[in-house]
Amino acid sequence: MATYNYQPSAPSMPENYAPDPPTSLNSSSHELYGNHGYSQSANQGVQSNYGYSSSYSSYGYPNVGGQSGGFAPGTHPEIVRSFQMVDKNRSGFIEERELEEALSMNYQKFSLRTVRLLMFLFKKGDSLKIGPNEFAALWNCLGEWRAIFERFDKDRSGKIDLTELRDALYSLGYAVPPSVLQVLMSKYDNGSGRRVELNFDSFVECGMIVKGLTEKFKEKDKRYTGSATLTYDEFLRMIIPFLIP
């Protein structure tokens, strides 16, 4: 079991973000570039921005500008770096194996099932790949989940139980009935009789399932009545994408 590292490695929410001084950004970037052999032009582009430290967006992120490769201005350089590191053919898109690689470099090893779920929720249309801005949205989302996980793992065990899960989902605006939580948690019950607890990977998976299905439900209940009426076709089409092997 990987040791649980409490240092958030994804950028935290913008309001908590304390801009690092350019020197510390430089030292980490040197480390990464050295290990991963970036092309010279990419290095220069990003490094020169750090050196000048003049163009900061309102969130305090250095403005990556023209070298961002499709990322919106103000995207955190670590996100750009992670994307570019796995997009080896510079296609501007990454598919699930590359996403898995990016995630395991910065977090822990995520199960392929969670990776696929993330891919499904953040990609546009029928594509099997995600582009820079989808990747950035996914990364920020994971950062949020990480912050929530830490906040609700009150005993710092590195795991979240059913009550903590309920509270965590509630804090995100999802009032999940206890009956539903039971079904969710049963997936992770190994039959040993011990209380079921989730690690971060499983927590993200649970959260994404609830988020995804709730959003689908809300699309069909535009007047917020709490009820949705569906055709057979709509019903199946809503759910089948979540049945990810």
Partner: protein, 206 residues
């Protein structure tokens, strides 16, 4: 179902199973073999129940299904257990096991009937017909979605027996959930937030 080995040790008189064939009260007990259960199913149950606790758990079921020359995924096992016990506890007693066993035999027949070239796989274009044989009218848009789920490479994929069972249970199970909430007048189903999640989650989390 080919490959089930009969138990080498016939159960002694005074079987641990309260609902053995001879028991006239079998139908009143929570989970027992219905009267007239074929002996080979009873034997299959005993063979599968490795820890002898009177129940079959998911690992035991996976092990016994996998010995029948197909590797069964744990997900398919969970789906099977859910459909025959209507719970997420992943334990099966004799009664549920018997129902499942019979269903698997029926699915096996359907699979073999549609696997015309006997390569152990059903081509995707045969799936719609297969569903119809099982009484399911699956819209083409849904079949395309299923295709997208199983065929990530873009090459035309066929379903092996395990995936076929997974696919059938899922479509059949979700269809039943829909029907439970369907209004006969409109053909539409109404769910509230909780009933929606409770209906679909067992298939998502299997």
């Amino acid at each position: 179902m080919a490959g089930i080995v009969a138990s080498p040790n016939p159960a002694p008189f005074g079987s641990v199973f309260p609902g053995s064939n001879a028991n006239p009260f079998a139908s009143l007990l929570p989970s027992s073999f219905p009267t007239g259960t074929p002996q080979h199913i009873v034997d299959a149950f005993r063979y599968s129940d490795k820890d002898g606790n009177g129940f079959i758990d998911d690992q035991e079921l996976k092990a016994v299904l996998s010995t029948c020359n197909h590797g069964f995924s744990l997900r398919t096992v969970h789906l099977l257990m859910y459909s025959f016990t209507a719970t997420n506890t992943r334990l099966m007693g004799p009664k549920e096991f018997t129902q499942m066993f019979t269903s698997l035999q029926q699915w096996r027949d359907v699979f073999e009937k549609h696997d015309r070239d006997r390569n152990g796989k059903i081509e995707f274009h045969e799936l719609q017909q297969t569903f119809q044989t099982l009484g399911l009218n699956v819209p083409t848009a849904v079949l395309n979605l299923l295709l997208l789920k199983y065929d990530r490479s873009g090459k035309s994929l066929a379903l092996d027996y395990d995936k076929f069972i997974e696919c059938c249970i899922t479509v059949k199970g979700l269809t039943n959930k829909f029907k439970e909430n369907e209004s006969a007048a409109t053909g539409l189903a109404t769910f509230n937030y909780e009933s929606f999640l409770l209906s679909v989650l067992p298939f998502v989390v299997a």
